[in-house]
């Protein structure tokens, strides 16, 4: 058992899989010699050399196309898109090609690949380098979508993603990179599509993802001091979506609050809320509350960015509005 940053867990996880399976290759901008702009892949080039680790031009479509073509023909690539905002310049390869090819070919083509990307706000990078775009990926049939909240999950879910036979979009929350957590020794392999119940309480079910998880936990602490004990679920994956864990909890608590970083409209919170409103409506004892970033691009100034993103106070308030 070692304490490790979320950042280091990425390189650790990649290395675990590259050691295990020689068909795993890794490519992206500045990922090799420089160890990644977030320093999340330091050491990978040294460990596996230039026949398995590739620094690319600034050509996101070419990066993902290369990953896809390689996955079709026997390799298991991990590609990095430096900031998830840049999915917009290569969305065609993700949404139209990777996501649809198995289906269109009636199962002939299999695409075991992972696209990792730094996602989310909190770094004062402004509107074009701070987006949470996990809902973009979730909306496209054929993609699996993962967003870990802690170092152990980074390693285990990355391993599961690499071993998965489908294209997986793996979101690393940039503001979590410096955070630390325990990572058990030995091989760690997790499972896609299982949410984790981090805390149990009967007053409400609070579901969060990635950077919103520690904030939801802090909100739960604060609510507990007022006698409101909530369940906190770390969703971890958006596809497959662990509806069962959420619905089971809502059946017990009667209240659902989702905490998401993406802007208001059409996020995973909306999807989850609608599922519950369709399948478990009569379990609900209060409104389903979504705590989100408002429907705005993220501002750069620290004061403004902090005001835009969901914080503990807004989560606490969201729970109160649900249980009222």
């Amino acid at each position: 058992m070692a304490e490790m940053t979320y950042r280091d867990a990425v390189a650790y996880g990649i290395a675990q899989e590259m050691r295990r399976d020689p068909s795993v290759v890794f490519l992206g901008e500045d990922v090799g010699a420089a160890g990644g702009v977030f320093k999340a892949t330091v050491g990978v080039l040294d460990a596996f050399g230039p026949t398995r680790v590739f620094d690319t031009p600034i050509s996101e479509q070419a990066i993902l196309g290369a990953a896809m073509g390689a996955a079709m023909t026997g390799l298991r690539p991990i590609a990095e898109i430096m900031f998830s905002d840049f999915f917009a310049v290569c969305w065609d390869i993700v949404a139209n090609e990777m996501a649809k090819t198995r289906y269109m070919t009636n199962g002939q083509v299999t695409l075991p690949l992972v696209v990792r990307s730094g996602n989310g706000g909190g770094s004062r990078f402004g509107a074009q380098h701070s987006q949470s775009v996990e809902n973009w990926a979730m909306a496209v049939p054929g993609l699996k979508v993962v967003a870990p909240s802690n170092p152990k999950d980074v390693v285990g879910l990355l391993a599961a993603a690499v071993r998965d036979t489908d294209p997986v979009v793996f979101f690393e929350q940039k503001s979590l990179y410096p955070t630390k957590g325990e990572v058990p020794d030995g091989e760690i392999v997790d499972e896609l599509g299982r949410a984790t119940v981090l805390r149990r309480g009967g007053a409400a079910t609070v579901v969060a993802l990635a950077a919103m998880v520690p904030r939801a936990m802090a909100a739960a602490d604060q609510l507990a001091t007022e006698g409101i004990d909530v369940t906190v679920i770390d969703l971890r994956c958006l596809v497959p979506l662990d509806v069962t864990t959420v619905a089971t909890s809502v059946a017990e608590t009667g209240h659902l609050v989702t905490v998401e970083e993406n802007p208001r409209l059409c996020g995973w919170g909306a999807e989850l809320a609608s599922i519950i409103a369709e399948e478990n409506l009569f379990d609900l004892d209060g409104p389903i509350v979504r705590v989100t970033t408002p429907h705005v691009p993220l501002p750069a100034a620290d004061a403004l960015e902090d005001a835009a993103m969901p914080d503990v106070a807004r989560i606490v308030d969201g729970v109160r509005r649900s249980v009222l």
Binding site: A62, G65, G69, M104, D164, D242
Partner: protein, 337 residues
């Protein structure tokens, strides 16, 4: 324009190869004419994009490829699919949306794929597949194989970003990939010359990727074969990518419903006069192949198309359960647990 013949097709000993190329072209032509008939009869329901007139490119390259090589094509990919030895019946059935289709009707005419034949797919978003072809070539190189990837696309495709990214990466990584631009002078309804800064959309851009400009007569199957063989050989030997511009013309419209009337009559006429099939037929006769042999190739092709049509037409519509099949590798579409 290439005016030397590749050794493989130069001598009389090469008759077998040239007959094979001719047979491929005849089959492509007959197949697509039938596809057009079926469309007129309402039996091909989706869109389809015919390569009538462009057969010499698909055949010349197809003949130069080894079974282990990979093909990537566009929505205008019937010819390139047949060129890899994919049987006609499943292709026809795919066009008709039947259960016996190459992809059981799930892909349609624009997405023909037969991994067993290393026909790695037909792609309908302009440009994307050039980057994916790179990936196959990269994988071939990393796996230490001698596979070569051949990627076909149109003139209009040279103006989209993915073209640029793919060519640069292929050159930097020295990938075993051959990019073949079929310059048929038109995008959908717009002439390529009106929207392109250079005269040869691919040829004039090869130097931007450190590549030699290669512009060939795409209606001359000997020329396409020669260029293909040379580029594929080079790629297989570790010499890196090529970009070949094959000048050709589509006889019909862009897609099934388009009569192609926007093109000047004289342009159409001049290209019809250079139809690759009669041209090649004449050349084979000149090389001493008998009329009888050619006629029997043609007759066999007609029969094959008839049979394929029958098989395809006899196939039922796909089972509706396919709608929710194979979104994911477990065979299903379940996004929740």
């Amino acid at each position: 324009m290439t005016d030397v013949l590749h050794p493989a097709v130069a001598g009389p000993q090469a008759i077998d190869l040239r007959l094979r190329i001719y047979r491929m072209m005849v089959e492509m032509r007959d197949f697509e004419k039938r596809a057009y008939d079926l469309f007129l009869q309402g039996l091909v329901k989706g869109t389809s994009h015919l390569g009538l007139g462009q057969e010499a490119v698909a055949a010349g390259f197809g003949a130069a490829m080894r079974p282990e090589d990979y093909t990537f094509a566009t929505y205008r990919g019937h010819n390139h699919t047949l060129a890899r030895g994919v049987p006609m019946a499943p292709v026809m059935a795919e066009l008709m949306g039947r259960e016996a289709g190459l992809m059981a009707g799930k892909g349609g005419s624009m997405h023909l794929t037969s991994v067993a034949h290393r026909m790695m797919g037909s792609y309908a978003i302009v440009g994307a597949h050039l980057t994916i072809a790179n990936g196959a070539a990269w994988s071939s190189k990393l796996r230490g194989t001698s596979e070569v990837t051949v990627c076909f696309f149109g003139d209009g495709t040279t103006n989209i970003g993915a073209f640029h990214e793919a060519l640069n990466l292929a050159a930097v990584w020295q990938l075993p990939v051959v990019f073949v631009c079929e310059n048929n002078r038109w995008m959908e309804y717009t002439p390529i010359g009106s929207v392109t800064a250079v005269q040869h959309p691919a040829g004039d851009r090869a130097p931007a990727y450190g590549l030699a400009p290669v512009v060939i007569d795409g209606n001359d199957a000997d020329a396409t074969y020669a260029a293909a063989a040379a580029a594929i050989e080079r790629a297989r030997g570790g010499g890196g990518p090529s970009l070949i511009e094959a000048e050709t013309y589509r006889h019909g419209g862009h897609s099934r419903a388009d009569p192609g009337k926007y093109r000047p009559e004289s342009e159409v006429a001049s290209w019809l006069a250079r139809d690759p099939l009669p041209l090649y037929r004449r050349r084979l006769l000149d090389a001493g192949v008998s009329e009888q042999v050619l006629a029997s190739v043609e007759e066999a092709s007609r029969q094959a198309v008839d049979e394929a049509t029958e098989l395809a037409a006899a196939s039922p519509p796909p089972d509706l359960s396919l709608v929710e099949k194979d979104v994911f590798a477990d065979g299903g579409s379940a996004w929740r647990r």
